[in-house]
């Protein structure tokens, strides 16, 4: 028998089979009893639609951020008071850390800003832009006031500094480059298309588990480990890992004001350099881009304390 009639028969049978496939069982729900059918004065209650946090509260967060940085600048540069700065640190840890649970933060916001710049379909609320820009603007004029007492991740590390050791300068420099690598990776993963996009900074935030009082065990261990390390090596995340810190360091280079060890007044006693846990004093001069605005140098200076003549 020739092939063509066989093929035609097969085709005919297959088309029949295709027509007899299962009927879709998706049904719109129009059979539920309605209010008038139920009777008795019944009215269908409204389904709750809980709204997210009020917009004015989000704006308040930005206002508090700006105000806290302003207070930090004043406390460190003008009042030079470690006591009040510690109070600010604890206050900001409470507000931005445990109340807001570490989110949104300027460190993570850099990813959102990068995505918004790269992806035309992605946009961010104004408060996120403000959260990103404000600490950088302050850094342009006064240095890393954000790091000093305002950043929640910095605050938690700041409060565990016990017996800081001075990290050898070369090692400190080398490790300091790691944060630029992290910055590069964070930007790289942020500019990927939507499905491949990864928000690294949020994923590897070591302290958010403490703020939320719950988290993946490995991240809690990492955070705990960094805090233990932070007792002896001052603020390891801030100095070596924080990608936003990389941006702040760049902006601080252009700051006219900041923590200064005044050359003609210094005693050359070197107590400030010993007191600084962050290696921000070299050759008796403040290295502004590393300065974490902790005011320990002022606290340890005999002139500041009014001891020396």
């Amino acid at each position: 028998m020739s092939r063509v009639p066989q093929a035609l028969v097969l085709l005919l049978l297959l088309s029949q089979a295709a027509a007899a496939q299962a009927i879709q069982y998706q049904r719109p729900v129009d059979t539920a009893p309605q209010a008038d059918s139920i009777g008795g004065g019944y009215k269908v209650p409204a389904v709750q639609k809980p709204l997210p946090r009020d917009y004015w509260l989000q704006v308040l967060d930005v206002v508090v951020l700006g105000a806290a940085m302003g207070v930090s600048v004043w406390l460190v540069l003008k009042r030079r008071s470690r006591k009040w700065l510690t109070a600010l640190t604890i206050g900001c840890l409470g507000y931005f850390g445990f109340y807001r649970e570490g989110c949104i933060c300027p460190i993570g916001s850099l990813q959102n800003v990068v995505v918004a710049l790269a992806d035309p379909k992605y946009s961010i609320p104004m408060v996120v832009t403000a959260t990103f820009v404000l600490p950088l603007v302050v850094a342009l004029y006064y240095g890393r006031a954000f790091c000093g007492g305002v950043c929640a991740l910095g605050a938690i590390q700041e409060l565990v500094v016990l017996k800081p050791v001075q990290v050898p300068r070369r090692l400190d420099r080398a490790l300091g480059l790691v944060k630029y690598v992290y910055l590069g990776l964070a930007i790289l993963f942020a500019v990927k298309p939507a499905l491949a996009r990864d928000f690294l900074i949020c994923k590897f935030d070591p302290f958010v588990g403490f703020f939320r009082r719950t988290g993946a065990p490995h991240m809690l261990f990492l955070g705990g480990g960094l805090l233990v390390l932070g007792m002896f090596v001052g603020r390891p995340y801030c100095r070596y890992l924080c990608p936003y810190g990389g941006l702040l360091a760049w902006c601080t280079r252009l700051a006219r004001r900041g923590v200064t060890i005044t050359p003609d007044k210094e005693l050359d006693c070197g107590l400030c350099a010993e007191a600084c846990p962050y290696g921000a004093i070299e050759d008796m001069r403040a290295v502004r881009r590393d300065c974490m605005y902790c005011a320990r140098c002022y606290a340890s200076c005999p002139r500041e304390r009014g001891v020396a003549s």
Partner: protein, 187 residues
């Protein structure tokens, strides 16, 4: 001098970038569960266990996902398979003796012309207490067609969700059932 210039340049760049972003800003984007993909509520996939990844994966301590009953679509049945555990023994009232929700989050009250004698003679409203519900999905699975009418679905609640950049539930969800939507559409 040149430092001033550079600072002003950086400021200008920041301001320009900020202006660009602000002009683009158009309202909040939030996460929502896509019921057409969620295995607890989409048709097909019979014989599955209730998926509780929404409960276990959410970064918030008590998950931001809740079971929500769309009242207008509910059958108001006496023997609700989402309220009762219909595989449990029948009690003297002719109802199953056990409730399904492990946290006892569903309450019911008779509506319409209430017959106090015979429970089978009434319509019932089923109300889910969002303080108790943890989004485990057991009731959602039982409400799914054909057993129920599919009025209960899992939904993200925005007074609890912290709106992560990358939803931890989505990362774990085998059906990719979490989507980002403008707040107006998501509610």
């Amino acid at each position: 001098m040149s430092e001033d210039l550079t600072r002003r340049t950086v400021l200008a760049v920041l301001a320009g970038g900020a202006a660009f972003l602000v002009r683009k800003a158009n309202g909040q984007i939030v996460w929502q569960v896509n019921a057409a993909r969620c295995i607890n509520s989409r048709l097909g996939d019979t014989g599955v266990e209730a998926c509780n990844l929404c409960t276990t994966e959410c970064v918030v301590a008590l998950s931001a996902v809740r079971a929500v009953n769309e009242y207008a679509k509910c059958g108001r049945c006496n023997i609700c398979p989402a309220y009762f555990n219909i595989s449990s023994a029948v009690n003297e009232l002719g109802q199953p003796s056990e409730k399904l929700c492990p946290r006892d989050a569903i309450a019911r009250k008779p509506i319409g012309k209430v017959d106090p004698e015979d429970p089978a003679n009434n319509f019932y409203e089923y109300i889910i207490d969002e303080e108790k519900c943890d989004g485990c999905g057991k009731c959602v699975l039982k409400c799914k067609e054909p057993l129920g009418l599919g009025s209960i679905t899992l939904r993200v609640r925005y007074d609890r969700c912290v709106n992560c950049n990358e939803c931890a539930i989505l990362r774990a969800c085998p059906q990719n059932a979490l989507v980002q939507l403008p707040i107006g559409q998501a509610l």
